[in-house]
Symmetry: C2
Subunit: 232 residues, 2 copies
């Protein structure tokens, strides 16, 4: 099918296929979203989700991981496909289908992109209007994240290795946009048995020093294989 001058010919028309990444982080206060500024038309100068063309020799998830790596330097963050967007007119350049992925990263581990594109974290509450149909993709991603956190401890993907109970609670409250009772939240979490206590630590605020915990993946996997539900 390949012709000399880098042209590819097919008997029927084919769409382009891209992967896009909705990359969430958490800075201890807000849920954040990593966006890149478009340097070329269309939508030049607007903010957009990181993404790019799927290569012919890579699976969609690998394409998404590649994009994630280019923007964050991370190779082993949480990432999963959540939906494909295929509206006919979603890209003015022609028929482009995007396989959208949801990534959760620890902001502290992200190194500024050596990529040419300018990347920047935005508070989820304060996201500008995005290029293409990325506003819709973001809405769907947010919905997917909220659904997911009811069943799997994805919150731990967003927190540092060691974290406090108030941090964990605040993260859940930010994602779900609700308030929990401290005592109920803590006892529920602790009774699940998926948190390891560590030992107290320096603080920096005029208040009592909270205990710190670490996520225990072994216990979580054991629980999960017995079939359980992480409820809120």
């Amino acid at each position: 099918m390949k012709k000399e001058k880098g042209e590819y010919t097919y008997p029927f028309p084919r769409p382009s296929v891209t992967t896009d990444c909705v990359i969430f982080g958490y800075d201890g206060k807000d849920i954040k979203l990593l966006l890149v500024e478009r340097g070329i038309p269309p939508f030049k100068g607007m903010w957009a989700l990181p993404g790019g063309y799927l290569q012919m020799d890579e699976d969609a998830i690998d394409g998404a991981k590649r994009e994630l790596y280019e923007e964050t330097g991370l190779r082993d963050a949480y990432i999963e496909q959540f939906r494909t967007f295929a509206a006919v007119d979603r890209d003015p350049r022609g028929r482009v289908i995007t396989i959208a992925h949801l990534a959760l990263v620890k902001i502290s581990e992200v190194k500024a992109g050596d990529d040419a594109a300018k990347a920047q974290w935005f508070s989820l509450k304060d996201v500008p209007q995005l290029a293409f149909d990325h506003d819709m993709i973001l809405r769907e991603a947010t919905k997917a994240l909220r659904q997911k956190i009811h069943f799997e401890p994805v919150g731990f993907e967003l927190l540092p290795e060691v974290f406090t109970m108030p941090q964990l609670q605040h993260l859940y409250e930010s994602i779900l946009d609700v308030r929990f009772d401290r005592r109920n939240f803590a006892s529920k979490m602790l009774h699940l048995g998926i948190l390891d206590d560590t030992g107290s630590r320096k603080s920096g605020s005029p208040s009592r020093i909270p205990a710190t915990y670490r996520f225990n993946k072994d216990n979580y996997d054991a629980l999960k294989s017995k079939g359980f539900r992480l409820e809120f």
Copy 2:
């Protein structure tokens, strides 16, 4: 981009994109799956999920609906995208990405396909080995269905307009592969307020005649907008 002889040329290679449909039904006894027999290579003679190439002027969901219509004659059945499969080698003919959809139909409303392809219902427990990676797609679809039924009353999409409590219970038991207590199941369902009683009916079995119900979508939508969970 279009050339004279029905050839389409692009500066970079592009994958083909198809939609596939996992069409579930329920015959009162088992969960059923609608498959078509492949008439051409590759995998000629094997059973496969209904599917086909996505047209350049249709959204993925419309392509899936078109496939569904061709196989079942149904235009308004429940259908949603659940996942995209993009493994590099999933199709021996080349790079083919498929956007997989889950459809739930009332078997009684399905008319035999006027389509050339032979279509046939299989019990989910008795599905043959499928072409391509359709075994995997089916596994994922089954998983998605089980997840979904925990939150939304998708079961009603599979039952006739009017149904009995034992039918509804048996459907849930078939999908989730569990047993429920009759009394608990019935009272839970009734207390949700999404079932309208109708009036008893003819039976055909040597036993008491069960009451019949109808799904009340208005009440369900009202409940849903208040935020509730359908649990099992």
